[in-house]
Symmetry: C2
Subunit: 154 residues, 2 copies
C-alpha cells in the first residue's frame, strides 16, 4: 500500500481544482497559504516531544531531514547557507515535480506545484519561531532549490 500517494493525489487535485476555478494570479498565494497552515500544524505536532533546538541551523537541519522525510519520503539532498540569513535547500528529485513529469515540457507548470511546499516550509519555520520568505527555483526537472530568506525583526 502506498500511503504517501494519498497526500500527493489530494495535493494534485487541489492544484488542478484551483487553476480551473480561481483567478490564476490568486492560485499561487492560496496554495502557499494552505501549505503554510499545514506546515505550521505539522511542525507543532512533530516537535511536541522533541527537545529544544540549539540554533537556527539546527532547525534547518530538522526541516531538511525529519520534516522533509515525513512529507516527501526523502531528505533534502543539500543544505547551504551564506551565514547571513539565507539558506538554500536543494532537492534533486523533488516529489511534486517527479509526479508531474521530469521533462522540460512541464517546466512552466512547476510553480503551481511548488507553492504548497514553499508554504509548508514557511509555516513550519514560523511555528519554530523563524519568520522568513521562501521561494523555489527549478533549473533541471525534477531538481529544485528552495531559498529561505530569514526576516530578522528590527
Amino acid at each position: 500500500m502506498a500511503d504517501e500517494a494519498l497526500f500527493e493525489f489530494l495535493h494534485m487535485e487541489v492544484v488542478s481544482y484551483l487553476f480551473k476555478t480561481a483567478d490564476e494570479e490568486k492560485c499561487i498565494p492560496i496554495l502557499e497559504n494552505m501549505g503554510y497552515r499545514v506546515g505550521h500544524s505539522l511542525a507543532e505536532r512533530f516537535t511536541r516531544d522533541s527537545s529544544r533546538f540549539k540554533d537556527e541551523l539546527d532547525i534547518m537541519k530538522f526541516i531538511c531531514k525529519d520534516f522533509w522525510t515525513s512529507v516527501y519520503k526523502k531528505q533534502v539532498d543539500n543544505l547551504r547557507t551564506n551565514h547571513q540569513g539565507v539558506y538554500v535547500l536543494q532537492d534533486n528529485r523533488c516529489r511534486v515535480l517527479t509526479q508531474i513529469s521530469a521533462s522540460k515540457q512541464y517546466l512552466e507548470a512547476a510553480p503551481n506545484y511548488l507553492a504548497f511546499p514553499c508554504g509548508l516550509i514557511r509555516g513550519a519555520l514560523a511555528n519554530l519561531g523563524i519568520s522568513c520568505i521562501v521561494t523555489a527555483e527549478v533549473q533541471n526537472m525534477p531538481a529544485c532549490k528552495f531559498q529561505i530568506m530569514i526576516q530578522r525583526s528590527q
Copy 2:
C-alpha cells in the same frame, strides 16, 4: 512523526477553503468529486499487484480493510449487506469526525467532512468495476455509517 497528519491537515484546509470561497451548495459535490478522483487513483495503485477479487463482497472487504487502513489508519468496524446491492460500512471512530470534535455541537458540520470520504469510496469502487452511490450518515459522533448502493447496469 505523524505522517498521516499531513493528509488530514490538507483535507481540513481544503474543506475550510472551499466553504469560505465557493457557493455552499457546490462545496459538497466539489469535495465528493475530489474524493472520487483520489479514490480512483489510489485503488489503481493499491490493486496493481494484487490478484483479482472473487466477487463483489470480496471487493467490499478490501475497501473495509486494506483501503480504509491505508487512508484512515484503521479498519471499518462493521460491514453489513442486504444481499440486494446495499452495503453499510460502519466506522465507530471515523477519523474525519474525531478531528473536528466528538460532540453534538459539530454534528451539522459533519457532512462537509464526509463528502470527501464518500467520494473516496465511490472512486475506488469505480476503479474496481463497481458503479454505486455512496452516502454518509452520522448518528453519534464520531461514529459514521457509509451506505453504498450498487448501480446495476440494466
